[in-house]
């Protein structure tokens, strides 16, 4: 008697109740084009999983309250100090509960790695033109996710109520106030009262950080992945067989599954090693926050560095008409600048199409050189944002290398316009040269073949 397949019964059970066998079969054989750069988005996804898992653990101990309490615990320097319950519970997570510090630091590292892989994924998609029709919605969803992740991360390190977090919230309050017309009412609505706000402000930050924004990010991830799967991945033109109609890749099962799982476990491993071995945001060193305290050399997490850079780079003026302050200064760097970057990225697929008149479906991704103007624009735009980001650490450069802050300020104010312009011209030139070199190679190759064939024919003619 033939041996029965042990999988037959469960599969049969599922099929009878869902009629989903064709769907399952299709999912198992869903094809993944094989290229390392397609894994950056996956890394972001795995970091998000770590964030949710470690975040739930932290929420079991964290107390989002500004109620005043006196710290008595293993961390000597703060013993007997008055502080908020929020800050105290973070100290307890770090020093009293076993493995609490590991989970806290892994959570923080995962947030930073999440945004690193996120931005690298965005750059990959941009420079390969993978956002083009039919994937503009996937691009927009991704951008929304990024601009949800930024405040999510900010709220995460703001909840601690340590000195650094408080300075960050103060700046956020300043930026909220600076929004023309609605700034005052908006900030009062969010904080409930002038800074530092009502105690309820802490509940508001907490529900946003652990529920509203994560749910939003999770939903956007689901839509993003569904859109990817419905239209399939892009692929590179690795052979003449790779076309806009024909997709070549490794099936989800069995080929891709162990690869993706290996990447997932590797990401988990690296994040926990970072959480265990590399200190991040040692909140006990900053001490509790009060609005009248500040410290030199304060820096936000990296993904908000571009905003502090913009706030510092902006020349000092409020836009006023007579007595009326129309636009207070922080609006430019703290609100308009990130909004502008978001808008440029969001409309780019449509603007590019307007210029190139290319309305076709694109399933084959470009190499950066294939679209010199796009690549040049991307490099210029990226360098503009990056230089503003870099200026955010000008005070550290001053401390570390003695570079005058003042000279840096003026150098950057010029550099953020000159460098992108130079890079634009240079990048476009390099792309075109690379294209030309390829054409030359092709012609050479063809000529060599021609010579070989003629030689062969001549040889045949002689005999």
């Amino acid at each position: 008697m033939a041996e029965r397949d042990p999988l037959e019964d469960p599969v049969h059970f599922v099929e009878e109740r869902t009629a989903a066998a064709p769907l399952l079969r299709g999912a198992l054989r869903y094809l993944f084009p094989d290229h390392w750069s397609f894994l950056l988005g996956e890394v972001a996804l795995y970091a998000f999983i770590v964030l949710v898992a470690t975040g739930i653990y932290l929420a079991l101990f964290f107390d989002p309250s500004t109620a005043k309490t006196v710290y008595h615990g293993p961390y000597g320097p703060l013993d007997g100090q008055q502080m908020s319950a929020a800050y105290k519970s973070l100290l307890d997570i770090s020093f009293t509960y076993k493995a609490g510090l590991l989970i806290r630091q892994t959570h923080h590292w995962a947030a930073d790695v999440f945004l690193v892989s996120f931005v690298m994924h965005l750059m990959r998609v941009f420079f390969t033109g993978a956002y083009r029709k039919p994937r503009e919605l996937t691009w927009i969803i991704g951008l929304l996710m990024l601009f949800t992740a930024l405040p999510e991360g900010f709220l995460g390190y703001s909840l601690g109520d340590d000195l650094l977090s408080g300075m960050g919230i103060a700046i956020a309050y300043g930026v909220a106030l600076s929004i023309p017309v609605i700034g005052g009412p908006l900030a009062l609505a969010i904080w409930g009262a002038p800074f530092p706000g009502k105690p309820e402000f802490w509940s508001r930050m907490y529900i946003a950080h652990v529920f509203l924004l994560p749910i939003l990010i999770g939903t956007l991830i689901a839509i993003h992945l569904a859109l990817v799967a419905l239209r399939h991945h892009t692929q590179f033109k690795e052979s003449p067989r790779h076309t806009d109609r024909r997709l070549i890749g490794v099936p989800l099962f069995p080929g891709q599954t162990p690869r993706s799982l290996a990447l997932m476990f590797a990401a988990f491993g690296v994040l926990f090693l970072l959480g265990g071995l590399v200190q991040i945001n040692p909140i006990w060193q900053w001490g509790p926050y009060h609005p009248y305290l500040g410290t030199n050399g304060a820096q936000p997490d990296w993904y908000l560095g571009w905003l502090i850079g913009a706030l510092r780079l902006m020349p000092g003026f409020d836009v006023t008409i007579g007595h009326i302050t129309l636009v207070p200064n922080p609006f430019w760097g703290g609100a308009l600048f990130p909004l502008f970057v978001l808008m440029v990225l969001a409309v780019f697929p449509w603007v590019e199409r307007r210029f190139t008149k290319d309305y076709a479906f694109h399933n084959v991704a470009d190499r950066p050189r294939d679209a010199p103007t796009r690549t040049a624009f991307g490099v210029a735009f990226l360098s503009w944002v990056f230089l503003i980001f870099a200026f955010g650490s000008a005070d550290r450069l001053f401390v570390l290398y003695g570079l005058s802050y003042d000279i840096q300020l003026y150098a950057f104010r010029i550099g953020i316009w000159v460098v992108p312009a130079v890079l634009f011209v240079l990048t476009r030139r390099i792309c075109r040269d690379l294209q030309a070199a390829e054409r030359v190679e092709e012609i050479q190759h063809a000529a060599e073949e021609e010579v070989a064939r003629e030689r062969l024919e001549a040889h045949a003619g002689i005999t």
Partner: protein
């Protein structure tokens, strides 16, 4: 003869039956995923890697259980958990590269469903066939929906004072309030020394309010350049300004005292967030950085006992600027 014929038919039937069976067997044996060759050495490697991962996981549990909270090294926990994950990742990588068949398959990219997309529009249009006043009904629906959305959004007004922005101007300073330090000890004028900088609060007030904290510095009275209206605000050359930066609300935590008068001609109050810099000798004017408004100045008095007191409220609203901030007075 008949017998022979029967034999031939029987033989034929037998052969045909075997052929059918063989064909069936052949069909059964056609695989979806190609077989590939077994690799026992790769399997052994996977076993070893998973074994090490198991040991690290156990190591994590042992470390957690063995140490007290104070002596438990975070590094040990991180290494155990991280390495466990990494060894599982390595095992999976071996599975992916050497144990699982990597097929390269072709598929078609999905096309546009021309017919269905027309049908979607058609279904929607035809469904409204009985309705005569479409626009009116749609408008009524939109009105009801909009009103409902507005109604549902209204409770958000409870979040804060919203259009009632007067709280932004409030400050706890009043004429006669004594200046106290962080531990509520009142400042006397002679404790304020030149070259240093002091944080003061109104006696009895909540120190965390934005309008509470002021920076106090003593300057050379001859170097002061205050507007005429503020001539009496700086007794003995002691001046006080709101400690909250008018740019983005951080604390003015740095005081730059000129050690090299040629290079740093001004004593200056500096916010460490975006390096807005204010001149205490010139009514808190911005001399550097992104702030767009001077620091609000607090008038000072020295009472008969030599203690520092406020001579009134700030010269303007404290904290970051906002729409119409200049129209307002500190309250």
């Amino acid at each position: 003869m008949k017998r022979l014929l029967r034999w031939v038919v029987a033989l034929g039937a037998l052969l045909y039956g075997r052929m059918l069976r063989r064909r069936r067997e052949k069909r059964e044996r056609r695989r979806i995923v190609p077989a590939g060759t077994p690799e026992r050495s790769a399997e052994n490697l996977v076993l070893a890697l998973l074994g090490v991962a198991t040991l690290f996981a156990i190591g994590f549990i042992v470390a957690y259980a063995e140490y007290s909270p104070r002596s438990l090294p975070n590094e040990l926990l991180g290494i155990c958990l991280g390495m466990c994950f990494l060894f599982i990742a390595a095992a999976l990588a071996v599975v992916a590269k050497r144990l699982v068949v990597t097929e390269e398959l072709e598929d078609k990219y999905p096309k546009v469903h021309e017919e269905e997309q027309l049908q979607v529009a058609e279904i929607v249009h035809e469904s409204g066939g009985r309705i005569t006043r479409k626009r009116l009904l749609m408008g009524a629906g939109a009105a009801a929906g909009g009103a409902l959305a507005a109604a549902l959004g209204t409770p958000a007004a409870s979040l804060g004072p919203v259009w009632h922005t007067a709280p932004l101007d409030q400050s706890p300073w009043r004429r006669g309030k004594r200046l106290v330090d962080e531990d509520d000890r009142p400042y006397s004028a002679d404790t304020i020394e030149q070259g240093s900088f002091y944080t003061a609060f109104p006696e009895g007030a909540d120190k965390d309010r934005l309008g509470a904290a002021v920076v106090v510095v003593r300057l050379d009275p001859n170097g002061l350049q205050l507007p005429a209206a503020r001539a009496t605000w700086a007794p003995e050359g002691i001046v006080a300004y709101s400690k909250i930066c008018t740019h983005a609300g951080c604390a003015i935590a740095l005081y730059r005292k000129p050690t090299f008068p040629t290079l740093e001609p001004h004593a200056a109050l500096v916010c460490p967030c975006h390096y807005s810099t204010f001149d205490p000798a010139r009514a808190g004017a911005v001399i550097y950085g992104p702030a767009g408004r001077p620091l609000p100045q607090l008038p000072l008095l020295i009472d008969d006992a030599g203690m520092m007191r406020a001579g009134g409220n700030f010269s303007g609203p404290v904290g970051p600027s906002w729409w119409a901030v200049r129209d307002h007075k500190a309250d």
